[in-house]
Structure formats: C-alpha cells, structure tokens
Symmetry: C2
Amino acid sequence: MNSWDEIRTAYHVARMGTVSGAADALGVHHATVIRHIDALEQRLGAKLFQRHARGYTATEAGEDLLRVAQTTDDQFSQLTNRIKGRGAEVAGELVVTSVESMGPQLVPVLAEFQAQHPQLSIRYLTGSRLLRLEYGEAHVAIRAGNPPDQPDNVVQPFFRMKFAMYAAKSYGRRHGFPERKEDLRKHRFVAFDETGARAPFSRWLRDHVPAENVVFVSGDSRVLENAVYAGAGIGFLPVYGAVQRDDLVRVIDPDDSWTVPVWLVTHVDLHRSAKVQALLSHLKAQIKRWDVE
Amino acid sequence: MNSWDEIRTAYHVARMGTVSGAADALGVHHATVIRHIDALEQRLGAKLFQRHARGYTATEAGEDLLRVAQTTDDQFSQLTNRIKGRGAEVAGELVVTSVESMGPQLVPVLAEFQAQHPQLSIRYLTGSRLLRLEYGEAHVAIRAGNPPDQPDNVVQPFFRMKFAMYAAKSYGRRHGFPERKEDLRKHRFVAFDETGARAPFSRWLRDHVPAENVVFVSGDSRVLENAVYAGAGIGFLPVYGAVQRDDLVRVIDPDDSWTVPVWLVTHVDLHRSAKVQALLSHLKAQIKRWDVE
DNA sequence: CAGCGAGTGTTCGATTTTGCACAGGGTGCG
DNA sequence: CGCACCCTGTGCAAAATCGAACACTCGCTG
C-alpha cells in the first residue's frame, strides 16, 4: 500500500463528513481533497464515500478506514510527542564507551550520574574494538592520546591523565628501588606491547632503559597494572589510581611529558541533546578528583 | 502531525538501513528519500538517523518511529485487503428499507437470505421517513407506487402487488356482505388518509362510495389492516397477506387497476457489489410466493 | 595501492501536484 | 417562491516536488 497521505485525507473526510471541512482541517484546497479521494478509491477499486449535495458520507469501507486511520493518527501524534520531548529530558538510554583501563575511575562517576537521573539507563561499554560514534554505537566516547579527528565528531579536552613510575613494595624488598637515574639500567620493567610506542612514556622507556630489562609486556593495561602490583617490575601507572594503593612506592614523580590527554567525544547529531550535555557537565565536574599529584 | 508519507519513507529507511534501499523499496529516487528524511527531522527537531558512508542507522527516535510505523504498515495492508475483498464476498452489513406495510412479507425472505449468508448482518429499517439511498442510509430500498426517478439510483421492477377488497367475517355477521356493486353504497369502509389519493384503489373508492361511508381512516397501513380484521369496515388489502387469514371474506376480486407496482431501488455505487446483487436475485426468486390470486 | 562498487548528497530541468476561480446544484429560511 | 449559503466539481496557471546526472566518500579486493 503506497501513499499514506491519501489515507490521511480520506480519514479527515470521513471524520468531517464534507470535503470542504476536511480541506480546512488539512490546510489544503478542497480540490486536492477530491483528487486524493478519487485516486484512493480508484486504486482500491471500491467506493469509500457516497457523494451527495450535503457532503460525503462514508460507506462500510470508508468507516473501516476511519477506524484504522483514527488509531494511526493517535499513534503518530504520540510518537511525535515522544520524539520532540526526548531531547528535553534526561531519560532513556545513554551509551558511554572508553578504553577499558579507565573503568575503575569512570564507573563510580557514572553510577552517581545514574542515581541523579533515575529515568536513565546507562550502558558503559569497554572493549578492544573501538565503538564508532558515527554508526550510533555510542553516545559519548572517552578517548585517550592524540586528539581524535573525525569530521562529524565534536571533541573537547576532558582532563590530562598524569602518569608516574611505580613499583610494588614486594619488588623493592627483592630488588631495591632505583634512587638515581643511572640505577634504572639495573632494574626490570613492565611495559605496553606497543612497538609503535604511541604512549609518550613508552618512548621514554625505550630511550632510558635497555630493551632486555623490560621483562613483562602486555597489550592490556589492566594486566600491566596487576603485574606492577605483583612485583613483576617497575611500570607507569596513572597517578589517580596509584595513590590509593599503599603497597606501591613511587619511583619517579610525574613528568609533564608523560601526561596523556583525555578527550570527550560525541557525535555532532547527539551533542546538543540534554542527555549528553548533562553527562558531559557531570563528567567535567569530576575532573578535580583525578587531578592529584 | 502532517505528511504521513514522510513517516512512511523514514520507516523504510529504518528498515533497510540505507537510503538507496529504501528508495528501491518505495519506487522513488533516492534524492526524494533524503529530502523526506531531512524535512521530517527538521519538523520534529530531532535526528532520526545517524548518517555515515555505509548508510543510515536509526537513532533512538528512529527506532521508535520504526516500531510505530511497522504496526501502521501492517494495519494499512490489512485494511486494503479487507476493502478490496469486501466487494467479492457477501458479508458485513446490508441495510434494507421499505414502507412498513411490507414487513410481514419481507421479514421471512430476509431471514432466509441471512441464513444462507451467515457472515451477513441485515438491518431492515422501516419508518415513516424515507431513507435516502444517496446519503448511504440504505443499500437496497423497496418502494411502491410510481417508479422512483432519482438520477443516481438504479430502479428495476420487483413485482406487482395485487389488492382486493376484504371484510372480516365478524363484519358480515353484523352488516352482511355486499353482493352487487350497488350494495357498496350501504356499507362502511376503512381507507387511507390520502386526500391526494395516491394509491389507485383509493381513487376508485372515492368514485364508487360516498365519502360519509368511509368510517375509519388512517395513514398507517397496518392500522387499516387491523381495522378490517376487527370488523370496522370493508377495505383494500394485499391478496398475499389476506389469503392467509381465514377470518376474512373477499368482497371483490382483485382488479388490475388496483395493482400497485413495487420497485427495487439501489444506489448506482452499490448496485454492482456482490452483496447487493445476491440480495436482489434472492428477492426476485421469491416473487412467485406473492403471485397468488 | 589502485581500482571498483556501494552509498550519500547536491544541482537543475521536467513533471506532477496544488491552488485558484468559477460553474452547477441542493437545502433551508424568510 | 425566491434568495442566500454551502457544498461539490472542473479547467488552467503556478508552485512544489521529483528524477537524472554528477561529485564525493568509504571500504573492500586483487
């Protein structure tokens, strides 16, 4: 069945009982209404209305159409109300994604945000696969490293994640802690499996430590964290997470060159919605939590 | 909400996932689809789809629309199936109207017809007010007297209703029965309250019987019938109904000049439908029942 | 890495749709 | 009984819509 507009026209004729009344209600000329009805009846091969001097009265088929189109009209107006109101309220679903290493920092913040908006359901997706905003897979993405440069995305700086070099106390009991820069050559390290050396501190490591001293390598940041905790070696950890553990010792203080910028990324189509804006402002309010030395 | 066609377009885009696919399904150019979506989104003030190089993926609002429009599509196709199939089968409602005096003859015939078509529901309307076919108030009308001459109505002769003059036996016991034409002047009569004398036999009565002998007058034919039954006077009754009562005596045999033609009238728009045709042929098959002397 | 296919988006001319003016007819009221 | 009003119906011009062609982007494959 094609041409839903003609059904809508017939619906108003059946409701009003006259072509002119329907034309007024639809905001079109009555000639248009007549043509729509004629076309629709011809396609259906049945008369929808009895024409007479006082107007159009619906036949059985016309009354059947009236009933169906009535509910359709109701459903469509409800739909438009939902869609129009959707942007205004913080409700529905909100999909957030980030690299998995940020989970421990993000989860409590997201939980707090959800508590402030009970109508909202949050999906926090982490994974090796980068969820793509332009396919609608996520509403807000938190990305680290170089500023993302997708044309349809709106990118804003979130905060700067400071890294320092840590070792577990258990490591110090076995190997001691390096006290001077030269001591580093005699220690063992854990590091990212990034031969491309994207993170700034992995380049630093390559420059200051012989490759054979890197004894534990993984692509998963949480694995590296746990390797440091277990005393497998010295490694870079985000300051925010490390200060909360008393089994760690800071070997080298944070350096500006190690800092990784973190970005808030949204698709341009969703950036204006109240839902996304509320989350963004909530996230930015939490920056100071993570701005520790 | 106006422009249901744009909703239909958006529905197909959400279903297909691409503009081109929706354009194929709709049989229009893909530029048209893009314009529809743009217009709809602008009116709604919300994005329905995320645009990317591989197609369009529905946002929350778009998926909401998909669900609503899906059911709408189903209901519309069911509706068109019903309407297209309606003419072919004898089902639904069938409104028949006639002058009320024909009820006793018509009701058993209509009941039999209904029994042959269980899907059909018959409304047999009688009333002083003439139901108008061109307003869709009835599908089939049974009219007596002069041939109806409405332009949009298709009229065909049904049968010729014979009248004769009857009196109740109780009347005969009190006043005797007229045996010769001259005796009529001494008897009492019941007659229609038609000063215009539409029925042919009421003109006959005026010519052969003094006005003061007409002692019972009514505009309701059933009242007149009962007046004859009660012995109030001699009166014209249809032969078909009178022969079934053994308390009546025929005073004068039917005369051709008293015969009233009866017509089957349908509106031209409904005349072709199987439902109406079935009733018409069924009615015509019953003529012989009423063709009694 | 270059070519190819699929898909989006935009512009311009053609076609369809729409609106306007007017004619015709029925109904009701004074 | 006539008149005024409301409704339907129809040609014609204007406007909005649609379709064809082209440019561009992305992802896949040999």
